[in-house]
Amino acid sequence: MTVLDTPAWRHRTDAAPLLPDPEPYRLLGTPDAARLDPALLRALYGQLVRGRRFNQQATALTKQGRLAVYPSSTGQEACEVAAALSLQPQDWLFPSYRDTLAVIARGVDPVAALTLLRGDWHTGYDPRAERVAPLSTPLATQLPHAVGLAHAARLSGDDVVALALVGDGGTSEGDFHEALNFAAVWRAPVVFLVQNNGFAISVPLAKQTAAPTFAHKAVGYGMPGRLVDGNDVAAVHEVLTEAVDRARGGAGPTLVEAVTYRIDAHTNADDATRYRDDSEVAAWREHDPITLLERELTDRGLLDDALRRSAADEAETTAAALRARMNADPALDPMELFAHVYAEPTQQLRQQEAQLRAELEAEQQS
């Protein structure tokens, strides 16, 4: 044995296959798009239109005081929708706080998905039943969860992949790094999708990273990195599906960067004019995910009135239902505050519970 045989001398992976093509991958409008299944394109279209409408409706609900806050994903619907549709039923989605659309595209009841942002509770759905983790507000903290879950599933011999979403800003957190490293070392069946929308609230990309692309981070963990046009829903769907399949096949994690843009302000409470120019927004409106797909559908003669109408109708139905249901006050029981802190409340919690109960009773009597 010489040092050249010891693991520290030269790690074994070959770097080249892990490096991304620095040109974002596109499908729509390219000759390759011809092979795309019309049924898939129609499904994606319906979801995009519904998603756009949902963002508008939710933003409107903030103005009416029906949502505490809403971080719109307008402009990023392709990523949201493709993320949800690249998964099998048994797989898990790990959304960040901006990913309500992905959550509902996966099938979670919209009102349940909005519970956090409405403010009646922190999570409105059963993550195990939906195989969707709670929307994560502390940035990047959901990434190690996804790794751990995927690892546990693999240890259990189950066919489960986890897909975790994070923003460009979130990549700067230590948890991003630790999660990717654990995933690669454990070859966990997990896919990371960075939605690079150019901003972390007001902070532009150049102040967030000096990397050629986020996809170039992958090689540093020993996993492949892919770069994709995040507004090309077919491309994102294909890249994610490939990565999910790879994970499912036991080949380990993938890091995908989708280049996209946040058309709206950070949330309804944000004033984007303080930090970005309208001309940039206008440029991105020209590269709208719905328009890109409509062009493709039109070119292939798939965008008939029926499709347009059914998409619009479904979007309106969703919006109307949302409006109606969100306009009702949720049924809330303050005593629930003590119900889920532990399996059994401590003696101190029981005392505090009694105190609140007494207060509420006194309130009712007065």
Binding site: E173, I201, S202, L349
Partner: protein
Amino acid sequence: MTTATRAADRTQAPARKPATMAQALNQALRDSLSADPAVHVLGEDVGALGGVFRITDGLAREFGEERCTDTPLAEAGILGTAVGMAMYGLRPVVEMQFDAFAYPSFEQLVSHVARMRNRTRGALPLPITIRIPYGGGIGGVEHHSDSSEAYYAHTPGLHVVTPATVADAYGLLRAAIASNDPVVFLEPKRLYWSKADWSPQAPSEVEPIGRAVIRRAGRTATLVTYGPSLPVCLEAAEAAKEEGWDLGVVDLRSLVPFDEETVAAAVRGTGRAVVVHESAGFGGAGAEIAARITERCFHYLEAPVLRVAGFDIPYPPPMLERHHLPGVDRILDAVGRLQWEEG
């Protein structure tokens, strides 16, 4: 400086105008940046945006991006680089965007910021101010309303300061930035928009960190509080008049150093005390305050020191937070339990 001389100084001060706590904090940063080229502000969105609460509004424009810097989104990195900047002689003022988003920097805070002076036998003091908007009552979703003061107050080597008035917001922040020790500066979010007639104190008027203040003298019982709970306590004291109670209110302003003398003197005067804060009660700052009052005032006490605090639960969702936060009724209820009939 005594209260009397301060009042005197103020007569010479420029005319006061209505100002919010947010404005006073902004002015304190501006004046600190002007006064000392070593002062640097850094954090997430502190530049063009002026911070999500606009506390750094205009500073990047006025002092340049190198004095007021948008950092990458990584709190340990922010505090860790601030340590390095302070090692080189700068005075970093760090903004954490919300209470719960300071937790990623906990190791840097506890293992380095709090200990560097001690570790190096005084050779390497770290004059870092860590501004953290904290507490609830603003309808924030989870992780946006934590009260984390007990973690910091238990960590030797840190000063822990929290203003409750517009004037203190300015004065304490200037004092924090001028301090040669690290200061965790906790800004009560829900008081950002509270208003008072105010003009920036002259440097000579700025009080050092570590003095509690009697906000209201009282004879029947003493409320001891700080930060976001001060207005609630003052309101409770007002309401208590109806019950015939004359409640005193002490505003600690700084948890570390802790002004035992002022608190003990006030409580000895009444023989009864209630400590009020909104963080979880168990192991909260109120435990230390109550234990210490008891140690110092045992033979003056007519009743045990009681605590009114947040419940021992994760901070509630917006629609339920009013049930969690100590309010006037809960405070008066505690005062009523101070064994007035002799126990």
